[in-house]
């Protein structure tokens, strides 16, 4: 049987912004409760009444791999998931800066890069999500892949309007 690669997919229309996923992630990975150390991020827009989960993948391109100067970040050719080799990492933080989803972070207390690894194929966030806004499965199985694309557009739109505001309408 062909084992199709699985990905984390999100449906922001289902996300309530409760951030249980962030807590579950930090509880599993760190044994602590600290959303700042979670490998995913919920961005809440209280003014728009909307919450957007940001998880690692699925990215068409992997800027974190491209930018790494010491090849510490590698990409699995089948699953297209990226992984960090901590032994090679020189803490230049380029990956944290370049990640479009903002889910590669620097742990300032222990000085290391923290990054999602899909919990080795059984991601805690997807299990903890009470509404099914975060799911884990193969892309072909996923009916919500298209929505992720919408989310990207939505984020770009926010950026565009913010820029337009800054430049005071000058295009």
């Amino acid at each position: 049987m062909l084992d199709l690669p699985a990905q984390l997919t999100v449906d922001y229309t289902k996300c309530t912004g409760c951030r249980i996923c962030e807590l579950a992630c930090s509880a599993k990975k760190e044994g602590l409760f600290n959303p700042a150390l979670a490998r995913l991020k919920i961005v809440r827009y209280d003014d728009l009444g909307m919450d957007i989960p940001n998880v690692c993948g699925p990215c068409d391109e992997a800027p974190c791999v491209d930018i790494c100067p010491v090849y510490a970040m590698r990409r699995d050719p089948l699953s297209r998931m990226t992984y960090l080799d901590e032994d090679k990492c020189i803490l230049c933080k380029s990956c944290a800066g370049v990640c479009v989803n903002g889910v590669i972070k620097l742990d300032t207390s222990r000085m290391r890069i923290i990054k999602c690894d899909h919990c080795g194929g059984d991601p805690e966030c997807a299990k903890a999500c009470p509404t099914g806004a975060i799911q884990y499965g193969s892309i072909s199985q996923s009916t919500i892949r298209g929505r992720h694309g919408k989310m990207i557009h939505y984020l770009k739109e926010i950026e565009r309007t913010a820029l337009a505001e800054q430049t005071d309408g000058e295009k």
């Binding site: 229309t13 309530t16 602590l32 209280d46 909307m50």
Partner: protein
């Protein structure tokens, strides 16, 4: 002693000399008070001088969290604001959801205490150990959502949690609220006016630290099982779908939907205020507070009509009631618009609606005339007028200046017998319940520390007739009277037990809906998880938790007693004790408060004559130190 769950520190901000102080959380407080409301009661009683002006420099505002705040335990995002209340002059507290409390703990503090008074507008900025008072002159006058956006923008961090007051708080409207996350309100008793009097526009918090519990693996196991219970609970699923709007039809069915300033309990237009009507027409998304798998918040948008374009989170049932049935308005867009205005201007929606209802009834009966009402003919069911009055209250303009003092004070200055239309207890306007068709809430309203309060001891088991739950909790011998909403018998037993459990809930702090109808969690669940979080074994005994709760209730009572409260103040408006319910299922019912009060005092160990705690009670609860006011450690 290493105690899990807590951040372990208290942060004090003194505005008079612009200084910050960090002190350790006294470890003995954990055993005696658990957290949240308990810590705040302990602190406010010993640090406030009696009879001070709530809007003066000597008052303090405490923002408290509990041991589970910011952890994986379900519905643990709650925070409490505690102060001497501007609206009532007694114990004031207001709980709020959202994300402020967890963020405060991630910044490293269990409690934030705001003291003194600033000369010019400031906002308090807390980012871990970076503590600053920032100038806020350009934020003064902004609505809460505008101030929140401006501060988040200034910090360039969307996760900065902001608690802000609006123009109403700045102008010291007695029932001004504090707004968190644009739409979560610490509404009741006027906490916004306390911040306004101190010239604090907002509190901004951001934290990056971690919280550790005593037994991590066991706690995560319990928390996951608890989340599963929430997700599988039928009532919780309904709540996720309808929010608190589910209550409108329940209240109408049992004849307890406050209508025309509590004159009656049934409302002709109730369908338009029910979840079934609202959700398909107006709701665009569901949201949740921190760590909540229930998710009762609704975001709504009005597409057409006079309020087209109105967008916002909320209102809750209480908001629908206070700008709906209470004013005779059967229109959701009006309630949503009122909710948006109240949140933006920083007003408590319950007190605002109730004060307007008071004015309308006083006008109807000739106590107010058109010269006082700025040429308006005050009337029921007039949306435009209600919203105009709301804005006048926030601006303290015309009749709004009078109403901004609250219905009790307004009735006093108007005179002409208008006090019987001011529906309040101890100065706090009544929430959306009615003791006539639900006796135990009558006792709750009369005895709750902050006034006519629906959150400290509302018993739902009797109201909805859950016989089995009642038998298990209070003994089969008390059936059937204890589940009969129309009799006073045994109601004090139900109220005392429920109030105790809610005290622990408010100390942990978890949300109301985790113990509501029928409860997902109760005291034994809290007794199971508290020792795992804190490592303090004594918190694993339900008897001990009952004692801690009694201590908290009695301490709040002592605080109020110091301000002159005794049995004569534990009363209900004559509307509930003398005017029988005119129509509906509860027709002819009224509240006979005295026997319930006697039972309540007996169970609490308070003196029947004056309603004050006896010496034996103080000794049993280790509260003898309150006799001298301040315990010397």
């Amino acid at each position: 002693m290493q105690v899990g769950g807590y951040a372990g520190k208290i942060l004090r901000v003194n505005l008079t000399d612009s200084s910050f102080h960090v002190e350790p959380l006294p470890s003995e407080w954990v055993r005696e008070y658990v957290g949240g409301d308990g810590f705040a009661a302990r602190m406010l009683f010993s640090e406030l001088k009696p009879r001070i002006d709530p809007l003066g420099e000597d008052n303090k505002l405490i923002i408290a969290t509990g041991p589970v705040t910011g952890t994986l335990w379900p519905m643990s995002g709650r925070t409490v604001f505690v102060s001497k209340a501007p609206l009532t002059g007694i114990w004031g507290e207001s709980h709020v959801g959202g994300f402020l409390g967890p963020e405060l703990k991630y910044a490293g503090y269990d409690l934030l205490v705001v003291e003194g008074r600033s000369d010019e507008p400031v906002y308090i900025s807390i980012e871990d150990s970076d503590l600053e008072l920032m100038k806020a002159a350009e934020l003064w006058g902004l609505k809460t959502n505008e101030a929140t956006a401006a501060i988040k923008g200034r910090h360039s961090d969307p996760d900065t949690q902001v608690a802000a007051i609006g123009p109403a708080g700045e102008r010291l409207v007695r029932f001004a609220s504090v707004i968190v996350n644009n739409a979560r309100a610490a509404g009741r008793t006027g906490m916004g006016a306390v911040l306004g009097s101190k010239k604090v526009k907002a509190i901004a918090v951001r934290g990056h630290k971690a919280l550790e519990v005593s037994d991590h693996d066991e706690f995560v196991r319990l928390a996951k099982a608890a989340h599963k219970r929430v997700r599988e609970n039928g009532q919780a699923r309904e709540m996720h779908k309808w929010g608190t709007w589910i209550l409108t039809s329940v209240k109408q069915t049992i004849g307890e939907l406050p209508t025309y300033n509590h004159r009656t309990g049934v409302f002709d237009g109730w369908e338009k205020l029910s979840g079934e009507y609202i959700r398909p027409r107006y709701t665009i998304s569901d949201r949740a507070c921190f760590g909540c798998s229930l998710g009762c918040k609704k975001v709504n948008y009005v597409r057409e009509g006079p309020y087209a374009g109105t967008f916002g989170e909320g209102p809750e049932y209480e908001g629908l009631m206070s700008f709906g049935s209470l004013l005779g308005i059967a229109d959701f867009p009006t309630a949503l618009k009122a909710n948006q205005l109240c949140n933006g201007l920083g007003l408590d929606m319950i007190s605002t609606g109730a004060t307007i209802a008071f004015a309308i009834e006083a006008f109807e009966n000739g106590a107010i005339d058109e010269s006082i009402a700025d040429g308006m003919k005050l009337e029921w069911g007039n949306s435009e007028q209600a919203l105009r009055l709301l804005e006048m209250i926030a601006k303290k303009e015309g009749i709004g200046k009078l109403l901004a003092e609250g219905s009790r004070a307004a009735a006093k200055s108007i005179g002409h017998g208008s006090d019987k239309y001011a529906i309040h207890v101890k100065g706090l306007e009544m929430s959306g319940q009615d003791g006539r068709t639900h006796r135990s809430i009558g006792l709750s309203h009369a005895t709750a520390a902050r006034g006519a309060d629906h959150l400290r001891s509302l018993v739902t088991v009797d109201q909805l007739g859950y016989q089995e739950v009642a038998a298990k909790r209070w003994g089969r011998d008390k059936l059937p009277e204890i589940v009969d909403p129309y009799t006073e018998k045994y109601k004090a037993a139900a109220v005392v037990e429920t109030e105790n459990v809610y005290c622990i809930r408010d100390s942990m702090i978890v949300c109301w809906y985790s113990v509501s109808w029928p409860p997902i969690f109760w005291l034994d669940d809290f007794a199971q998880v508290l020792p795992v979080v804190t490592g303090v074994d004594s918190l694993g005994s339900t008897d001990e938790l009952h004692k801690i709760a009694e201590r908290q209730v009695t301490l709040k009572r002592l605080f109020n007693a110091r301000e002159g409260i005794d049995r004569k103040d534990d009363r209900l408006p004559t509307r509930f004790t003398e005017e029988p319910m005119p129509e509906g299922p509860g027709r002819g019912q009224r509240v006979n408060l005295e026997p319930m009060l006697n039972d309540y005092y007996k169970l609490r160990g308070w003196n029947l004559k004056n309603g004050l705690p006896t010496d034996e009670t103080l000794q049993r609860l280790s509260l003898e130190w309150t006799r001298t006011g301040v315990r010397r450690e």
